[in-house]
Structures are given as C-alpha cells and as structure tokens.
Symmetry: C2
Subunit: 282 residues, 2 copies
C-alpha cells in the first residue's frame, strides 16, 4: 500500500468496507488535540486543503461543494417557506453558507460542540466561512443534543444534522431519542435532514436511520444520494424526514433563482431522489 515512496499520502481506511482512500499531501499545515477530537489540516496536491478529524476525512476544498449543497438545498426547497433553520454539527460552516443563500431564511443557528473546527475553518477554508458575519447567523459551541432537548417546541422549520460518522462524538446523533427531540422542536410542517453514509457500504445503517426516524414520530422519509469522492465509496446519502403525511411540492421555480451553486440545480434535485433498483426493493 505504498505506491510511491517519494510522495506523502494521507490514507483513511474504511474497515467496514475493506477499502481505503488516499490523498497526496504537500504538507501538514496544522495538528491539534482539542477537548473533543484530534484535528489535522493538510495541503494536498490536487484537492486543495484537507481537514481530518480523528483520522476521518471531513472535507477538501475541491469537492466539499457536493456535500454542503446536498445537505442544505434539497431540504430547504422541499419546505414550503423555511425561516428558522438549525444546523447540528457543521462546524466548518460550509452548510451554513449554503443555507444563507436562501433569502427567505431569517435565522440560522449552527451548534457544533467544538469551536476549534470553526476557528480552523476560518483560517484554512475561508471561502466556507464567508457568510459567518451574516446578521442571520448564530454560532453556538455547545452540546447540540442538549440544545435540541431544551429547544422551544414547534419553533424550527428545518434541522440539518451535519455530523461526523456514527462513531465517537457523532454517535448520539444517530439515535431515535435525538430524532424525537428534533421532531418535537420542529413545526408541524418542518423537516429534518441528516447525512446517512454510503448507499453501497452502509445499507444497514441507512435502513436503521429510516426506521428510527419513523419510530421517533416522523411520517415518512426520503433518501437523497449524490457523489462525494473523498468519502468511502465516493457515493453518499442524506435522509430527510417530515411529519406531514404527504410531501409538499418542491419549490422548483425558486431553484433557478439562487446563485452560487456548483452542483445543485433543479435536475439534480430530482436526480438525487431517484433510488437505485436495489434500494427500492429494500
């Protein structure tokens, strides 16, 4: 597994997939142990800057637009009129930036337990933080689960769970108990979206998320799928859930009106909801 001894590589193993993904490194820019996790920042040869948390690739400058756009726009355009948005996790601020593209959004609260993620993102991924000073943005660095459990009932339109993998600090964000707190904090027509790993390599987890969201009180779920080269298998998913028994008509006309997206558009919205044959059978 050492293809070229003249070059330096960062490698993330995916144990449950028997696979690994590597990026060629120019230099390590930063490394620290925070109160919560181990963060590394590298400069790569082809993917721009890279953030790694506890050995897992979080994002690169080259391809994070895929993930951040798909974590925000499908949910926001499915909701009839999202004004109050909460992001759990998302400390790199890329999802926050996408949410703030929506002129109808009045307030976005981003709650990441680790302030260091945001401070390092400001330094090494400034383009993701360019909307942090938007007066509609509120950045909190506290426990997102506790915050959600204490949130005012029926006060939020869209909850985006932009978390790490379901191991370590992110694990509790993949639980029926957390979904129930989200369900109660959402308005009756509100919706939640959570990153839900690889459609190919994490099929059991995807099923469990859908099951747990319904057990927590949501009426139904929808799976979104999209490419994400730096995550295991290069193919990723998010799961949306809503309390209404019928999904509203997405606001297609407005999808064309918001500028700045590099992946998302109306056709991609529909495409992301198309389920492969093996998933519709499940």
């Amino acid at each position: 597994m050492t293809p070229n001894t003249d070059s330096i590589w960062f490698t993330e193993m995916c144990k449950e997939g028997g696979s690994a993904f590597s990026l060629q490194i120019r230099e390590k820019l930063h490394e620290e142990k925070t109160a919560f996790q181990h963060i590394e920042i590298y400069s790569t040869t082809h993917f721009g800057n890279l953030m790694v948390i506890d050995g897992f690739v979080m994002l690169t400058a080259l391809d994070n637009f895929l993930y951040h756009e798909m974590m925000s726009h499908p949910a926001l355009f499915t909701h009839p009129d999202p004004k109050r948005v909460v992001i759990i996790g998302g400390g790199d601020c890329g999802t926050l930036r996408e949410v703030l593209r929506h002129p109808g959004v009045r307030q976005v609260t981003q709650i990441d337990i680790d302030e260091r993620v945001t401070r390092l993102s400001e330094t090494y991924f400034p383009e993701l933080c360019e909307s942090n000073d938007d007066p509609r943005a509120e950045l909190l660095f506290i426990d997102g689960i506790k915050w959600m459990q204490q949130a005012e009932a029926a006060s939020i339109d869209v909850i985006i769970v932009d978390s790490t993998d379901p191991i370590g600090p992110g694990e509790v964000l993949f639980s029926e108990e957390f979904y129930r707190a989200c369900h109660d904090a959402l308005r009756p027509d509100g919706l939640i979206v959570q990153q839900s790993e690889s459609p190919l390599l994490h099929r059991a987890l995807l099923k469990r998320i859908r099951h747990d969201m319904v057990s927590a009180g949501f009426a139904g779920t929808r799976t979104l799928q999209f490419p994400q080269p730096v995550y295991p298998g290069g193919w990723w998913s998010a799961t949306m859930a809503m309390s209404l028994s019928a999904w509203p008509e997405p606001r297609y006309a407005e999808m064309e009106k918001i500028a700045g997206m590099r992946y998302f558009n109306r056709a991609i919205f529909d495409a992301s909801l198309a389920l492969p044959a093996f998933m519709t059978e499940e």
Copy 2:
C-alpha cells in the same frame, strides 16, 4: 500509506487526481502477462473478486453492476428499436450480459483484443458470463478498431465502447478517427456510448470526447453520470452520441419490463442525465 501492516492491500493510484483507492485483499488468485497486458485477479475481503489490468482496477464482483448497467441500458432504451449491437472491449462480458436482457436485440458482437480477459472472467466472474452461450452473442478476439473500419456501412444500431482508460491499448478508442468509423458503421438512427471517466477529475477529457464525437459527424452528445466506487473519485460518466438532430423519446414503458437490473430503472435513467451546475456551465 500503510494503514495496517497485518493486512494486504491492492492500491491504484490516480496520478492526475492526486488520489488513490485501495481494497483489502484475501489472496492473489491469478496473475499473467498476456500478449497485450498484465492481468491480476484477487479475492478481496469485502468487494468479492477483483480484476486488475496493467495496475488499474477493472471491476469487482460487488459493484460492477453499476457500470455495466449504465453502459448498456440508457443507450439501448434511447434507441427506438436496437437489433444489432456491437461492444468494443468489454471482455469481462458484463456489458454483454446486460445487452442480452433486451428481447428485441437480435445480435451482439463483442470484440475484445485479449481473449484471456474473457477466459479469466469465465473462471473468476462466472455470473458476468452467464449469457455467453446465448445464440445471439458473438465473441471475437481481434482488433476492434480494424473491425470497425471494415464494418458494413449503416449496419449497426448501438455501439458500446467499453474500454480501458485512454492510456495504453485503450488510447486509440478515444480518437476522432475511431468515432468516424463508428459513425459510418451506424445506421442513421444509431448511437454510440463510451465510458468517459470521472466528471470531477477528468473534465478536460470529457470535453474532448464530446468535441471529437461532433467533429466525427455526430449531431449531438449526452453525458450520463453514475456512482462507481472502485474507479478514481467514485463518480463516473459515459458519453452518448447520435446522428439524428433530435434525441428520440426514450422507451420508458419498456424500462419496467426487463428484470435483473440492480441499479438501473426509469428514475435512474432520468437521474443519470441530470447535469451538475458546473457541467451545464461548461
């Protein structure tokens, strides 16, 4: 880049992407130098059997269905009535199997220069070769470019270029000259589809393919995109071209009638044609 010294890994580097993909190996099942290339077969821990040619991952048992279904069904369901199909490359016979699912197809000629690929596929990927004895299938082991240059004019409905990467023996299959030979061998309503690498990492190549196909006489092109975890970046594309000035209505009703597909369905057909914002801008 040695994540675990107790395990054995196969690694493919993508030089032009500064990335690498690795699969954990149980054992090497076979290795040989043929007259044309170097073939290795491995048993992996999670992806089933793996075929490697000249150091590049060709396919694994786990995820080849994505590629093979997308190389065949979108083109075959776009053509109004494909009867005569030619596959250039495709020696593992996975594309052949998919094409033969279509009852209207009367003859499929697969032309791979290296017979050893097919013989090894029969041994290590028998599921891909289960239709090789279909009376409609013809397997030739000769130079596909010469064959195409000598093919009867206007005699083929669909040409599928299921080739290796545009380096080594596959390089000549990515040329205007080859596309012109294909154009002349196709009936007026015929179409060609070719694997065209990663939408993210090989954008210049994708552009060149589209350009060269039009220079060779085709009226227009369409890009298909789909996940393919074992190829660089995990996100892959194919490019279709046709001589008619308007694309025919795809045969949607018949997409539901053919059994055995694990990825492709009607919704996935449409989804594969949805272009990301950054591609529509190009």
